[in-house]
């Protein structure tokens, strides 16, 4: 009985010492982490995100070269790199980002209902959308282009050449609106995802796929032997970062992050590593729109 009590006491003493040691070490490392966390004015979105320790970002999961989940479940692409450029300014690590799958139709409702903090999902800036959401950036200018089979077997020259021919677009995309405007005689076929358009193009059911130049560059980077771009962009526009309507402070913060990334080369690295591989020539960060 005496032996058991002594052994018990010694064990407890050792464990307590161990716990105290870990706690002390942990506290000192927390103190150094707190020192590096950026601080923002109280009440701003940035302050809320820093104290929450995480950010919810709406992105697409199926755009090659822009934001696509690879086979191990990790998102990669140009839009994803832009998100990381911004969140680094909040002191957040990649693991603190909660990726929310977004499709073209639910970008405005997600922001209006506060389901995400920002959206980087090939989000075209236009006045109609500015009525209900705000845009930081823009972070890139691009337009629409036509993707054809490698070698251009039908001899397509430009988007007007699609008149009377089957053209694949994504339902509800800017590409669809652009075809209606620039090549109204084209026989438009709409699918919901780009992979179906690519299957149809490969099988010969459609002559060309019209969507954004960056998305198409990502496709060509992935399948260089099957497809090629016409390289005749039209319907030029810009992509912005969607945030809650009227959040000028957050808009300004994001713009500052983008400017910083443009100056220190992080923006160029993001481009070259993703859509640059599809042959898209680097263009510097466009002039930023004023935050309203």
């Amino acid at each position: 009985m005496n032996m058991r009590t002594t052994t018990h006491r010694v064990t407890m003493a050792l464990l307590t010492a161990a716990f105290v040691g870990i706690a002390v070490r942990g506290e000192s490392s927390d103190a150094s982490a707190l020192d590096t966390k950026p601080s923002f004015a109280a009440g701003t979105t940035m302050a809320k995100l820093v104290s929450a320790g995480k950010i919810r970002v709406g992105v697409k999961f199926d755009q090659p070269g822009l934001s696509q989940k690879n086979l191990s479940g990790k998102l990669e692409g140009f839009d994803i790199e832009i998100v990381k450029l911004i969140t680094v300014g909040l002191g957040l690590k990649e693991s603190d980002i909660e990726w929310v799958e977004t499709s073209s139709g639910n970008r405005e409702p997600f922001l209006q209902q506060g389901k995400v903090d920002m959206i980087v999902a090939s989000y075209g800036v236009n006045d109609k959308r500015k009525q209900v959401v705000s845009f930081a950036g823009p972070y890139v200018t691009n337009g629409q282009d036509v993707l054809v089979k490698k070698g251009d077997p039908t001899g397509l020259k430009d988007v007007e050449g699609l008149a009377g021919q089957k053209t694949c677009v994504m339902n509800g995309s800017e590409g669809q609106a652009a075809v209606v405007q620039f090549s109204p005689k084209a026989d438009m076929v709409g699918f919901d995802v780009i992979s179906k358009c690519l299957s149809a193009l490969k099988g010969g059911s459609v002559v060309g796929v019209v969507t954004n130049t960056h998305i198409l560059a990502g496709v060509v980077a992935k399948y260089p032997a099957d497809f090629e771009l016409l390289n005749k962009p039209f319907a030029l526009g810009t992509w912005g970062i969607g945030i809650k309507h009227g959040d000028t402070a957050f808009c300004q913060f994001i713009d500052d992050q983008l400017t910083k990334a443009a100056n220190d080369g992080a923006y160029q690295t993001a481009w070259v590593d993703t859509v640059g591989k599809g042959g898209l020539l680097f263009r510097p960060l466009p002039p930023l729109d004023p935050c309203v």
């Binding site: 139709g105 409702p109 609106a177 149809a200």
Partner: protein
């Protein structure tokens, strides 16, 4: 008001395509289903087997897979139609299996004495089925038939993801062009779908009242 005019034109195009696709698919599916039901109750074992395999296979396959097959595999095999026709084929084959089971349950509900009396009169299997059994069977299963028709209308929305400019695909296009009124557009489209399915239900009620008989 040209924006409103454009929206109305697009919605009308989508509405029309959905109605046409649903009607032609429903008609072919019903015909296919009735033939399959006849095969399943026929005295020939081979026909019974084919009918059973058709229903087991198609009913348990998600409709999206059938759309994939008709829209992408058939062109590879050299079959070239418009995407509307591919959607028509997929919908008809899919709901043919459901209509088969509905009609077959109607056939089972007809009293055995009817078939025996027909046999006694010298009618062969096809004549019995066409003139005696099916007319009585169909009257019994109007509600499930209408149920399946309404399912055809709802599943036609999947065709929008496979190249057909029907109502759901048009919705996606409109929510992009009028991004400030996404919820309003969705609400209007829901009303348009109801404008198709509610009259079908009312028609069903009217047919049921006219064809009901004492058992």
């Amino acid at each position: 008001m040209t924006a409103a005019h454009e929206i109305t034109t697009l919605l009308w195009l989508g509405f029309r395509t959905t109605v046409i696709l649903s009607v032609v698919s429903g008609a072919v599916a019903l015909a296919l289903g009735t033939i399959a039901a006849g095969m399943r109750v026929s005295p020939v074992p081979l026909l019974r087997g084919i009918g059973a395999v058709y229903v087991a296979l198609i009913r348990n396959t998600p409709s999206t897979l059938l759309f994939f097959f008709t829209a992408f595999i058939l062109p590879e095999l050299g079959v070239n139609f418009s995407y509307f026709v591919f959607a028509w084929i997929a919908l008809s084959i899919y709901y043919g299996s459901f209509f088969c089971e509905v009609v077959r349950s109607g056939i089972s509900s007809v009293a055995a004495g009817q078939a025996e009396a027909a046999r006694a009169l010298g009618l062969n299997f096809t004549m019995t089925l066409a003139n005696v059994i099916l007319p009585q069977a169909v009257r019994t299963v109007i509600p499930p038939l209408i149920n399946t028709f309404i399912a055809v209308v709802r599943t036609s929305a999947i065709a929008g993801a496979f190249g057909v400019a029907e109502l759901f695909a048009i919705t996606n296009r409109l929510t992009n062009e009028e991004s400030q009124s996404v919820l309003l557009i969705l609400f209007i489209v829901a009303l348009l779908y109801l404008a198709i399915t509610i009259p079908i239900s009312l028609l069903a009620g009217a047919i049921e009242r006219k064809t009901t008989f004492a058992r």
